[in-house]
């Protein structure tokens, strides 16, 4: 076993432990911080797989934006210090176990079936390839995704903003 293998297993253990802590802790802010650890370990695993771009996207988008907005949202509405009993959910433990095990099984099966141990990119710059593929072969889905995002943006603004005309007529 090489050093990098030991390092990967250590990271996987860390990933598993922090993932378990995310769902078992009864403090919503602690859960978010453990989620940061989970995402950071995932990012390091992606770097070990020489997918630097994906790793940095994880850091920029998930840690830098999603978690920050999550913390921001929780703190601005309600964030009591100390544990919150409402977060402990004892219902449907059987279903939760079944669903998570089946998702794990399906993913493992698909990944092993499709890739097994084939090395997809062994050398060169994966980011450049990613950029070229995105703007040539996958240009249509790429544009489509940006329209979906634009739609979500407009939807969010429409839902959030108070309509003055309706406010005046006491409709809201």
């Amino acid at each position: 076993m090489e050093a990098i293998d030991i390092f990967s297993y250590f990271l996987l253990l860390l990933l598993l432990l922090s993932g378990i802590k995310v769902v078992t802790t009864s403090n919503v802010i602690h859960a978010a911080i453990f989620l940061v650890f989970t995402l950071a370990t995932t990012a390091i695993l992606f770097i070990l797989l020489s997918a630097e771009f994906v790793a940095l996207v994880l850091v920029l988008v998930y840690i830098g934006a999603v978690i920050v907005l999550f913390l921001f949202g929780v703190m601005i509405t309600r964030a009591p210090l100390g544990p919150n009993a409402e977060l402990d959910n004892d219902q449907n433990k059987l279903f939760a176990t079944l669903i998570s095990l089946s998702i794990f099984g399906i993913f493992t099966y698909i990944l092993l079936q499709t890739f097994d141990s084939t090395v997809v990119i062994s050398e060169g710059t994966s980011t450049k390839l990613l950029g070229e593929i995105l703007l040539s072969r996958f240009v249509f889905p790429f544009e489509l995704v940006s329209f979906v995002l634009l739609g979500a943006l407009i939807g969010g603004i429409t839902l959030a903003r108070k309509d003055n005309a309706l406010m005046d007529e006491d409709q809201i």
Partner: protein, 326 residues
Amino acid sequence: MSFSSELLIKVLVVLATAPVMALGLTLLEVKGSAWMQRRPGPLHVGLRGFIFPLATAAKYFQKETIIPKDVDEPVFKWAPAWVIAAVVGLFTIIPLSPTLIVRDLELGVFFLLAISSISTIGVLTAGWSSANKFSLMGGLRAAGQLIAYELPLILSVVGVVIQAETMSTVGIVEKQIEFGFPFVIAGQGIAFIIFMIAATAEMMRTPFDMPIGESELTMGFMTEYSGIRFLIFYISEYINLFVMCAIASTLFLGGYHIPLLPTEWVNFYGPLVLIGKTFTLAFLLIAIRWSFPRFREDQLQTLAWKVLIPLSLLNIMVTAIMKVVF
């Protein structure tokens, strides 16, 4: 040299450089403010004021670290670590010369934006875990500001990346040497101004110090911090000032090179040139800090969302069109 010993040396060099630069900039800050406001202390006391930063550091080391009773202890204790880890991590991509760089990452600029966004978590958790409403207000204001100004920071850099056709910091400097002019003259002047404004806001320095406003929030998210943990927040601000100015010099001002100097000697004069440019930019920000009052919260948000972001989007569009045309 093996990979691990090389890594160890690089880490040690960065860990030694970061506080030295912070001390240098603290000195510049106190001397600048003393000069602008006619304060005798930092200009005359103790070797003409030059040991001032060391005295400040020594003061914080001997102060007692107070942890209030109601704080969320692990979160409270580790909050400064997020901030300093994020700013020291950025030393990785600062090129002092083509070879004198921790690692010339292919995704250098992207790395900058990704890593610098981590410090927001430290600021937010510091504000929340302090169990103090002023801290929480400060933390929320800080987060709102950091989110708002991260966008113009990212978008202003995109223009440079389009023009240089690379995200590596060394590559960007080489492109400017090849071109003959730094990017601030050659098309990215507006982007430079946007970058500097957004960087000042990211550092939460005056005029963007609404989150820590001493007179109303008593230092905001840092209120409950004392001793060594406060020092970490304090030193992070100056390390961040150094890093942001160094990145701005690299991306816009030609980095480690000055036109007309022979490129063969760049390994000798490169570090001096970059640090000189960095300290000049830092002095500009210090002069701004000691000359202007702070922005009101709504003015600050309006400036980011209604002025800087549209302007940087326009800059990207114009740069892309110019790139296709020429």
